[in-house]
Structures are given as structure tokens and as C-alpha cells.
Symmetry: D2
Subunit: 461 residues, 4 copies
């Protein structure tokens, strides 16, 4: 699996202080949303300070750094960036000075009118030092602020010009502001811990710091915290339930998060059950690809009556610095990352559950690994439909040319990966995996149809 979410957000207003430390733990819980860089900005006595760098949360921050940041307000960010970006410059939160003082801006998502916005600003003399949407958003806010009496109103006006996916945290010396795009692509929720008010991309991060989930922001909503008072602006809310990225349920989000009222773990389990019903297989054991295939595998096992088995063990120590075996080695990456449990698979017919097939390479290697361990048959079942189109809204699902399912039939894919049979979750079933979700969905990567018109491409520094 090689699809990445692009960011995670965490913010807190807490007069009790030490906010950077809470953000640190919140970002730890959101690390799965971005492992490339991270940052925290904090306010102490109306002064902004920040620290950010490339690396994991646990590698970037030291206790001394967190003590220095302190904070009665703080926002943090974890980021995934596609290779080739000039990396350190793009770390977030973006911190800046503008006409009314200082701001910190962090966002999760992807705008689709980047080029038009950038050009418009440039024709007014703007300079851009990063390739992030955050810088565009910051400019938009700064320019609206000239006409608006309050920063939250500037955010509100700026949002009218932004098209695409964004969940947003903006921090001024006195206010913490959270916002979601009117289409509702990316999650953002609000929590409380005593007097403190918190925002997080996923509810698992609220749990991690001992806060309670209060509610999720509505698509288009702006929530402002000032002196402990929480107010909402709903001027940009459209009259729709929005279009939550459905792949958040299938893969991106942590299973212990709740998004739009729907438990992620339950959605995956249900996807597995629906997969069992629509794409059955005759088999002796259901094996999930760890970690993200395990929930669906349980669901498949329950619905099919085929026993669930732990057939694959994941090596917990493969990190960024892992030296991938090269051509000349007889070692194979998949064998180092996954170990097959011979006792569980030898002589068995296996239903193998994974959550996606991107290029097919990994699937082929896992199937071969299971056969080497003695599996008699391997039936691959995927708990999502085939990817046939790219994502423009905050993930790196690639162009059609790199998506196996956009170019080959199911039979061709099956031949390529060497399974005994192959089945994907049907599109119709996909829409049933989140029955508790009080929202609509974006399933553009599975359908090629998006809630927003055709996106442009980005200028590069």
C-alpha cells in the first residue's frame, strides 16, 4: 500500500498553559496522516513562537523545545509531501506577520484553483516562498483582513475564493480559528478537556490527550475560540451534507477514530462483511494484510463463516531508514516486512484481504509469500473498489497511468498478481460501509466523478 494522506491538524486553547505539550501528543496520534515533517506554533502572552522540521514528531521535538514553546494556545501539523518538494521550506504551520500582527496557519487538503489564485496574487505584487496552499490561504486572509474588522471574518471572506479540500487552523495572538471547506472533504472535529477547547483532524487525537469529542465541524463552518468563548460562522455552509473522502474510512483514518459519527473500525468491518457477501470465496481461512487489512478481514470472516486466522506478521521496525533490497540481493522487501505463519496457511485455501491495489506489485509479492509458505489457494479480496482516477483533494492517489485498474481488467490484474481469484468491493456496496455517517461522500478515485469541476495543476517554485 503506498497511498498517503497529506496532513493532520491539532490545535488547543487552554489558559492552563503547556499547550505545545498537548499538541505534541495530539500530533503523535495523527502521525499516520503525515510522516515527512511536523511543526508546532504557540502563543505566550500574545507572542508567537514556533518550531518545525522534517522528521517524525518523536524525532523533531525535545522536552526543552516543548518547554520553550509552552503556550496558552497552540496549533500543530504533520505533513506528508511528495518526493521532490523542497522540503524544509514547506513545513507547517506557516507563521507570518501581516497588517494586524502575527498569524499561524496550518491546513490539511488540496486546493484546485491554486494556479488562478497564485496568478491573481502575483499580479498584485505578491511573492511566494513555498509551494504550499497554506501560503495562498494566508495571503487570502491577509488581503481580506484589510477590509474585515475581525480575523474570523477575513477567514470567512477568504474561503469564498478557495476551491478544493481544506481543513484549516488559524491562530492569532488572541484567537484560535478552525474551518472546513464547504464541500467537507477532510475531517475536523472539536473537543473539550475541562475549560480547554481543542480541534483535531481525527477524534483519536482527542482521546489521546484525554479530551472528549464535542462535535465535528460542518462543511463550510468556521469556529472561533476567544477567551474561552466558542462562536460559529456558517455563512459558507452550503445546504448539503458534504462530500467526505470515503477513503478516510477504508484506509487513511485510524480505526479508533469516529468521522461524521461513523466509527472507522466499524466501517472497515462492514466493508469486509459486504465484500464477503458480494465477492464470496471457497476457502479455509481469512487472512488480512497487516495492519490496515485486519479490520476488514475480521468482517469478512464473520460474514462468511470462514475462520479468521493470523497468517501474516508485520515487522514493526521497518522505518524511513530501511535499506530496500536492490536487484542483486536474493532478499525481497516483502519477506522482510511481512512474515507468513506457516502453521496457519500451509495446505489451506486462503482469502487474503487488503484495502487497495495500486500498482499490483505488493499484492503479487504477498501472494507469492503465502504460496511459498504452503498456501494451496489464494483468493484476493479488496475492501474497496478499484482505483480508476486520481485524487485532487489531499491524497496522493496517482494519475491513471500509474493505476493498474485504470488500465487493466480484473482478469488481467488477477493474472498479473497471480491470485486464484480476485474481487473488489462493488461501488454499490461502498456506499453502505458508513451507515452511521451523517454526510455524503467523495468517491472520485473510484468513479472519476468529483464534487468539484476539473482541477488545474500547480505551479512549482
Amino acid at each position: 500500500m503506498s497511498i498517503h494522506e497529506e496532513c493532520g491538524l491539532f490545535g488547543i486553547w487552554d489558559p492552563g498553559g503547556d499547550c505545545a505539550r498537548t499538541v505534541y501528543y495530539g500530533l503523535y496520534a495523527l502521525q499516520h496522516r503525515g510522516q515527512e515533517s511536523c511543526g508546532i506554533a504557540a502563543i505566550n502572552n500574545r507572542e508567537l513562537s514556533f518550531y518545525k522540521d522534517v522528521g517524525l514528531v518523536g524525532d523533531v521535538f525535545t522536552p526543552a523545545q516543548l518547554d520553550r514553546l509552552g503556550g496558552t494556545m497552540a496549533v500543530g501539523h504533520v505533513r506528508y509531501a511528495t518526493t521532490g518538494d523542497d522540503r524544509r521550506e514547506n513545513t507547517q504551520p506557516l507563521t507570518l506577520n501581516y497588517v494586524k500582527g502575527t498569524l499561524a496557519v496550518a491546513h490539511n487538503g488540496n486546493l484546485v484553483n491554486t494556479k488562478a489564485l497564485r496568478t491573481a496574487f502575483e499580479y498584485r505584487g505578491a511573492i511566494f516562498q513555498t509551494t504550499t496552499d497554506s501560503e495562498l490561504i494566508a495571503y487570502a486572509i491577509a488581503q481580506e483582513r484589510l477590509r474585515c474588522g475581525r480575523v474570523e471574518d477575513a477567514v470567512c471572506q477568504a474561503m469564498k475564493g478557495l476551491r478544493g479540500a481544506y481543513s484549516l487552523l488559524v491562530m492569532s495572538p488572541q484567537k484560535l480559528i478552525a474551518a472546513r471547506d464547504p464541500w467537507g472533504f477532510r475531517p475536523l472535529c472539536m473537543g473539550r478537556r475541562g475549560n480547554a477547547v481543542l480541534f483535531a483532524s481525527e477524534s483519536c487525537a482527542l482521546n489521546a490527550v484525554g479530551a472528549d469529542l464535542v462535535r465535528e465541524l460542518a462543511p463550510g463552518e468556521i469556529v472561533t475560540v476567544e477567551n474561552g468563548t466558542v462562536t460559529a460562522i456558517r455563512e459558507n455552509c452550503k445546504n448539503t451534507a458534504g462530500h467526505m473522502c470515503i477513503f478516510e474510512y477504508i484506509y487513511f483514518a485510524r480505526p479508533d477514530s469516529v468521522i461524521c459519527g461513523q466509527s472507522v473500525h466499524e466501517a472497515r468491518r462492514l466493508a469486509g462483511a459486504l465484500l464477503a457477501r458480494t465477492r464470496p470465496a471457497e476457502a479455509d481461512v481469512v487472512v488480512g494484510v497487516p495492519d490496515s487489512g485486519l479490520d476488514a478481514a475480521m468482517g469478512y470472516a464473520e460474514a462468511s463463516g470462514i475462520p479468521y486466522g493470523m497468517g501474516l506478521v508485520k515487522n514493526r521496525y521497518i522505518g524511513r531508514t530501511f535499506i530496500t533490497p536492490d536487484q542483486r540481493s536474493r532478499e525481497q522487501a516483502v519477506r522482510i516486512k511481512l512474515g507468513a505463519l506457516r502453521n496457519c496457511v500451509a495446505g489451506k485455501r486462503i482469502v487474503l484481504i487488503d484495502d487497495s491495489v495500486v500498482r499490483g506489485t505488493t499484492s503479487r509479492q504477498i501472494i507469492s509469500l503465502l504460496r511459498e509458505a504452503g498456501a494451496r489457494e489464494v483468493h484476493l479480496r479488496v475492501s474497496a473498489p478499484p482505483f480508476i482516477a486520481p485524487c485532487y483533494f489531499g491524497t496522493d492517489i496517482p494519475d491513471r497511468e500509474h493505476l493498474i485498474a485504470a488500465n487493466l481488467s480484473i482478469e488481467e490484474i488477477n493474472a498479473l498478481i497471480g491470485a486464484d481469484s480476485l474481487g473488489f468491493l462493488p461501488l454499490e456496496a461502498l456506499h453502505q460501509i458508513a451507515p452511521d455517517a451523517a454526510c455524503g461522500f467523495c468517491d472520485g478515485c473510484f468513479t472519476g466523478t468529483y464534487p468539484l469541476e476539473s482541477p488545474g495543476t500547480d505551479a512549482k517554485i
Copy 2:
């Protein structure tokens, strides 16, 4: 869980070369046996070179380093060391010059006659630069070599003076030698990949590099590889099945390893089933503490008929640099490390499966986490008997004063950790968890009775 295995070994003889690279991948698969330091020594044209440092395998070695090491033979080591050790000096393999040239020595285990050995050597003028048993073993071999014609004979003679747990790899410019102590405490197995001969602490490491498990070394056996010929010396083999550490099955080893013919995963599953039969509970769902409690939880669920549920999610990013929350934070370490799945646990009676209770602190926090997530009842079942005695044979199970079960009754422990009920695997059941194992066991930490007489304590540099 805070019990640690102390080491992992991997060695290969392969005329095809690039052995250091294979050892690198083998050590990756054994990283769970030691995360403090690691090292690789390799032979090229009879010349020894090596690299070792504190840190994880993935952090210590670079591609350039592996290329430099190359090797038509190589041995590697991962190490866990108790805090306070002078660390870098104690990394292994130990490399040395002696009367017959060079040697590399790596070992897994703990001697119990260290003090006597050390004193005896010192009275012959020896100097010790580390606090490792490897240095003692190396001295013993070097001194025997003066009287023995072959290095493997020197190893054989040296072993007669060593008391305790040790699996051993010794590499001279021409020979790769593996040995296990006569009591058979620690595992060590042999594999093949084409012409290559390999040794590893666990079979999962053989699988990782595409090798097949040939057999495990017998207690007391010495196996020598020279020019592709494998010969065995069994002079030190006693007429017993040995005393394999039973906690290897319960916790230390990787579930996809096979030890003495017994699948580790199956042993854990069986422990869970035996636990269900001997320590039943009325409940709605069985939840394992990830990762090591999951296999037993499945076994418990199957045997009891209570559904298995994923009630806890582990944060995959907690590493060595994690800043543990201190007193003043409202965050709790357990909440950052584990997330509870509210949907799975709310309103439910839960059987919580863990593999050990050392001090009780972690258990208390997990139970409290589940209650916060709405669990109605939490019944803790432990897939091993209570620890009542320390381990002298290669793990850091501590002294009685730090073992809660050595000081409190089951009821008192239960009160302390706040479970609704508490049950441990009975000792009788413990001996049934590895029916396929062709060996005897050491269960000293659960009984206070060891295969070897009372151990001494170690001198410190």
C-alpha cells in the same frame, strides 16, 4: 509490558558474498530481541572488518557501510542492555586478535558463573574492557586454543567452564561456528539458501532472507561450517531434552517463528484457549492488548465462544525518542500508546487478554482506559502464570521486590489494578502450550526453580 530479551544472533556463510547485507535483513527480523545496539562483522579474503553502534539496525547501517563490509561470511547481533551499562563498549559482535589471528564472537544469554570466571582470568593477568559475557567467552576460547588444534575444539573445551544460558556464534577467517549451551535455554537454528549456510536465533529471520529452516541446534551442540562443509560436535550434549525458556513462546519470540518444532503463534493461541478453559469469564467480547496479547485473545475467543473484538489500537509511531508525559501533564502515556475503540467496548463486558503483569501499572491504566470508553466490566486474563522470581538466564525479569505477584495475592493485585476479575494461566496449563516442542522447559520465573544452581552476581567495570 517491560520485560526484555537480551539479544539476537544471525550468521551466514555464503561464497556468493554480500553476506553483511543478508545479516542486515536477518537482524531486522530479530530486532524485537534487542533494540539498544547492533553490529555486523564480516570476512573478506580472510580479513575481518566490522561495524557496530548503539541504535536500531535501520539507523546504524548505511548502504555504503554494508557494501564496505561485503563478506563471504558474516555474523550479526542485536542487543538489549539494562540502563547504566557503558553502552558503546558493550556492542557486539566482539572482535579480537588472539594467538591464531582474528575472531568475532556474538552471544545471546547470560552466564551465572561470571564472577568466578572473571576472577580466574584476572589472576592470570587478563584485562577486561567491557562488562559483557562475550569477552569472558572469548578469553576462554583464546586460552583453550593454546592447547587445541582447531578453534571449534577450543570452543568445545571452553564451554565446559561456562555455566548459564548462551547461544553463540564464533567466526574465524575460515570458519563459522554456532553453539548452544548444554541446558538449551536460548534458541538457535540452522538454515540453508542454495549453497549458503545460515544460523539465526529464530526461524523468522531465516524466512526473512529466503532461507529454509534445516534444524535447530541441540542443547550443547557445536556446528562448524568450513568451505561449505557442516560438521557437528556433540561432546557437550547432555542426555536431556534441555530447558528452553518457556517465555520465548509466551512473549519474546516472533509469532511466525518455530522453536523446537513448535509454532510460537500456535503456542500463544493455545495458551489463550487453555486460559479460557481454566479461567473462564462471563463476557461479551474478548479484547487483546496489542501486539503481544492478540494471539492469545484469539485463542481465548475460539475456546470460549465469546466473540473476538478489536477493542484497542496501538500507536505505531511510539519510538525511543517518545517524551513520556510527566507528572504535571494531564496526558497519560497509556492513552497515547493505545486507543480504545468505543464502538467495540461501550456497554460491554470485556475479557482483556495480556501476556504478563509485572508491576501492575500498565494493566491498571489499560483497564481505566477501557472503562472511560464505556466498558461495563473488565476481566483481565493473563496468558502466563504470575512472575514470582527473577530470571538469570538472558532476560531482565527483575528481582522479587519489583514483581507484584511475588508480593501480593491475586486478590490484592486485582484490587490494585481495578479489574472486575483477574485470572492467570495455571502452571499445569503452562506446560501444555507447546505440544509440538521436542524439548523441556525452564519456567524459573514462574516457579523459582531453575535448571541450574543459584547464580552469582556480576562485577562491574
Copy 3:
């Protein structure tokens, strides 16, 4: 001595390529002008890439980094920054996207109308991500570019709004532009090496890369290199010889540089000679404080007839990581940094030559060190007048309250530092130290009178 220059610049246009490597060596030669951070931006096929970080040139760049940067044009920067700056964000060159594509901007100096400029831009909606003047200059250029047909014209127009000290390098995908402020505070010269055209803060950097000094830029001049053609814009040149910082001659610049036609080494030697004539002393030996006092000490010795002696040796290994002795140590920083040559000083009357007295602490310690080594008398002679006013034009000469000479009489200073006598170079003599210089001078730090009106203070992010 604790006065710092704030930056050094180096740029090259060379169709032969590998420009980043030449900049690397050029920056090495300019490292004395800034040791806090450094950066290089390069153009390859009209694409901009860059690398910058905190640290010395030798620590920041690797061969791989230089190879990646390559370049048929490149600009580089070394920076000194006062403590407390958010450091990494302020590294240069600043690289940016604007209406016409990409730019890299590097500058040496300090603007005095920063606040007014910043406010003006902010009222047009600008955001500032750094606290550097470079960002202001970049904005000014970007805004003028909307009205100007060529980037060099935009630089020309932008300069009309900039007040203060700045030498500037601007690089677009096709052009390399160099400029000096109309007051001529900071040096900037042009060189050639074959077809290549180069710019550097000091001529020593041209020599370092085997280039020849062609000429220095006039105050207010803009020089553009495009396709090997060099053109000049002199629209901003005032009809004056400018006001070169006279402290460049006394301390900042490297002795092997030539500034405005005047050899720096010769200027220092002459300062020493003038000091001997105006502030004579009866003594046995002239000792310079290494390294910057040595040239003047030679001049003093020659002019006075008193022998020159090497009385102090400097420890060449004191770097950024040196742990300064704290209160409890009996060690003294000065003794570790400087060693006295007992044979040279014992029993002697010494004329000690230094180039400045800022707070007096270091002078007191050096004098005490010489007395401990047996000096009979120590007469301190300073090769510059007393500092009585701060510098607003690119150095960190501090406010009056921290300048000993702004608060105490010569006698009081002498008493404080414990010399037998103390003499500074008279102001009248100061103006004679650079007879070959075809320029006027800024001596504001010695007189309190500046070529530009009273400066404002800076806003901080």
C-alpha cells in the same frame, strides 16, 4: 572582540557550469563575514534550486549537495544573526516565485526604513515569513516588476524606496544582477575568470577561486549579466564618493582584500603606524592581539622602532561548540583562547595592540594574562577611535549603554582594564588610514554622525 559583520555575498555566471561549487569556495573565503548560516541557489536550464541551513559552509554542504545544485549561475550567502532570531527561516538567499517566475535574493547590510516599508506593504495585503530585509527588498522588486519591463529595472525602481546599507545579488532564471546602495556602505566587487563573471563582497573571494578583480561597483550602481553581456545602470548613483564603512578596513574585511582600491592589510599597518605617532609609548616590545591586531602591531613596531614580538598565541580550535568556563571554574576563557609567550613578555614593557575595546572585559583579561606571564608594563593601544555610538548599517556594534567608551573617560577605562596606559587612534588619524581608497567613509560608530538620518527600529515576527 565581539563585533560582527552581518553578511557576505558571492555570485557567478559561468556557462561552463558547476557554479555552486565555485560559490562554495567563494563563501569559504567570506566565512569571516558570517558564521551562523549559509546558502546557495543555482540555476540549471532556467530551473532554480537551492540549499541552505544554519552552520558553517563546511558543515552545511556535502559534495552530493554541490553536485545536485550544479548551476550555470549561482548566488551564495553567509550570514551572522543576532541571538534570538528565529534562525532557520532567515537563512539566505531568499528564493521565491513572483509574477515573472522565480528569483533568488541575497543581501548584505541593514535598511533603516524597514518599519515604514513593512507597514506600507502590509497595508497592501502582504505577509512576511521572515524578519530579514531581503524579504522586504524582494517584495519591493516584485511590486515594481509589475510596471517594469526588465527585472533590473524593477531593482532600479525598488532601490529608490530603500534607505540604508545594502549590497545585493538578485538572480532570475536568465540574469545575475548585483547592486550597491547609493550611500556605498558595504563593499561589492566584480571579477572575471575566463568567460565567467563573478561578484563578491570582498576581493579575497575572487582570488580564492582563481578569478581576477575587474572593479568594484559604484555606490548606487546596478550591474546585470545576461548571456555573458555585462551592462550597468547608474540611475541611482549620487554624485558622491559614497560612505564606505571604515571599520571594514580596521576589522571586518580579510587583510588580503582590496576595498575601494585600498589594501586592507596596508590600511591596518598604516593605522598601527599612525597610532605609534599619535599615541607613543616607552616599551620594549610590541605585541598584537591575534589575529586581527597583528597587522596594526607590525605597523606600530615599524613606526616606533620598538621590536615586534609574538607575545600571544591563539588556540586555533575554539569553535561554536566551545563550552565557556562558568563561574565555579578556576579556568578563564581568555587563557584557553590565548597563550602568553613568557620568553617574549617576561620582564618587558609591552605595547599591546588591539583593534577595538567594546565592553572592556576581554582587554582586562588579556592584560592580566600578560602580567601573570611576567610583563612589567602593559600599554594598550587601540588601532581605532573609541566606539561611542551604535551602527545601523549592517554590523552589530551595540547601543551606547553597552559601549564602555560612550560612558567612561579614557582614564576610567584605563583604570577598569588595568593597563599602565591606554591610547586610541585619534579621529583625525582615522581618516588617513586608507590613502588609496577612492571613496568617502562612514565613521558613525566613532562620531555618532551618519550619512543617513536617524533610523527607526524593526518589527519582529
Copy 4:
């Protein structure tokens, strides 16, 4: 110049504590004697602790490290090692456990009977983990200690078997012991600071920490400090003045050190004067190659009456990480390391003073640099005789094949380096450069005749 001294030593006994910090500053002053690795071992309440690593003193130690080491006794070491050594293992001081407890051993020098010693120990069963002489010396002491009542007696007995150059510091939990080899090759002196007793390779290190030089150890002498009492053993002292390495005066030692009563700076100045008398030149200015040629240049200028000029400036920032220009660059290393002062050299006849010519490459480049800067003539004068033989006693003066003067005549060398004339200090004059020195000299590298018979070569791990 590319000749390196191999080590520096510093030790202190001070009941006032914080000894590691004093050693830190002492090692800073001795850094010129070894820049590859360093280490400090300290005693607190009879417990030994240590820290050592590759790198400069300023990079290896942190304040926290020094605080942890503390110490009422401490010894430190700086080391230069030839490339290819397994580096980290060879850092010193060597710390060890032996029959009587713990020892730390640090040494400066080179044994010549290494191979015989090593073999003898190996035939008694010894193992060697490093390639340092320190380990051999430690073994010798440990073995003698079995027969001797006091560690200093064991040192005394061990010394009888050691042939070669060594200055030695040995620290037990109660005693600090210093010793010099009976031939007196390497310096070692004793100092006092209040109650504290100190030892250092050079007196400049005593000055750096505010201690007074008491005396230098005699060749063969052993000095022991215990509870503040200083005692000497002279059993190994031969009836000769010893053979101090004369190149310590010419190049290795710091100019502010005094060795055997002779100021190093004065020796160099005298070498310059003797050079002027024996190898005169018609010239306009005397220019020294910085830093080590400057003292001799002054002496040459004084004796010849030709003015001394600063014609070359050294770049102070060239460190270990400097990327040397490769073939394809038009830059030359020498131009980056040295800048020529055009005003000083243009049109002049120059006497260039350097302290040695090893391979001739650097001399050729410097001469070419001076000619480019306009020098009319360049007469190279070297303040030492030509190297014609290697050094076996603690420096890396290489084998004859790499010494230009061992293979070419003066005329041939002159042709090769491109000077107008070339002169070396005559051997007869060499013996006059240290008139105050109360010792004999080793001049083996200039004569091929050594105080000790032909040395063997070393075994490698």
C-alpha cells in the same frame, strides 16, 4: 604540511573536584597534537567513568557530559590516527578491569617491539580488541601487578619490557601515575594549581588551566600522586639526557610551550636566524607560511635584515569537512586555504619560510600562488633539514619512498617546486636551535639514525 603528532595527554588530581572540566580545557590546549578522537576518564568515590568518541574536543563533550564525569581525578587524551584504523575502538584513555580493580591508561608515542610483545601475550592466552599500544601497555601492567604490591611498581616493571616512545598516564581509583620512556622521546610535564597536581604533554596546557609548570619528567621517570603526595621512581632512568624529538621544537609543539626548558617559539625564531646565516638570499621581504612558518620567518628577517612581511593569509575556517577541489574544478586547494597579499608581494623578491617539505606539492602551489600575485622571485628556505627517513616514535613521517628529499637532490626538488632557489637548515645548525634545552635529541627523520635499533612492524586486527 601533512605531518602529524600522534597524541596529547592531560591529567589532574584535585580534591576540589570537577576534574573532567579541567581536563576538557587542557585537551583544548593540546588539540594540535591530535584531532581524530578524544576521551576523558574520571574517578568519583573510587568509581571510574569515561566518555570518548571520534571528533574534536569541542564536538565530543557537552556540559552535561562533563558534569556527569565530575572527578577528583581525571585523565584525558587527544589522538591522531592514520586512515584505515578501526577508529572508535582505538579511542583513549583505555579503561579496563583487572585483578586489582579498574585502570585508565592513556599514552602518547609508539612502541617498536609491539609485535614481540603482542605475540608473547597471545601465547599466554591474551585477546586484543584494539590496535593500540595502550592495550599492550595495559596488559603488561596487569600482568606485572600480579607480582607487585603497588600499581606504580607494576608500571615500573612493565616499562622494562617496552621499547620505543611513550609518555604515559595511568589512573587507578586512588592514584594518578605519569611516566616517560627511558629514551625521553615525547614530552611530559608536571604542574600545580593550589593543591591540585597536573600532568600535560606540553606546558601550554598547564597555562591554559591556570596551573604553574613545576618541572618536566625525566626520561624513564615515574611520578605517582596519591592523596596529594607526589613520589618519584627513577629505577628506569638511564644516565643520559635522553633523546627529545627535535621536530617537537620545529613543528609539533605549540609556540607558547616550554620543552626541556627551551621555549618552542624561541627555538623556531633561532632556527630562522640560523637559516638566514647558513642559507642567505637576496630579497626584499621575508614571508612565512602561516601558521607554523611565521616564527622562523621573524627570526630570518631579524637575522638577515630583510623586512618581515605578511604576504600570506590563512583561511581560519578550513576544517575536517572541507570538500577538497577535485580534478575538474578550476579552483585549487591552496588558493582557498591561503590568500596572497598582493601589495606585500607584487614586484618583490621573496624569501618564503616553511618548516618542512614532505612531498613538495604544497610548496609548489604556494610558490605559484605568490608568482600569480606578482612576486618577482621566490626563494624557499626551510627551517629544518630535509626528511630522509621515516619516524617510528610517535609521528607519521612516512617511508622513504614518500619523502621527496630521500629520493631527489636539492636541485631536483627546486626544479620540481619551481622556486628561484631552495635552502634547508643544515644538520649542524639544527642542533643549535634549542640552546636552553637540558636534553639530547632524536633527529632520526633527518639522519636515519635512531636512539633505538631497527623497529618491527605492527600486527593488525
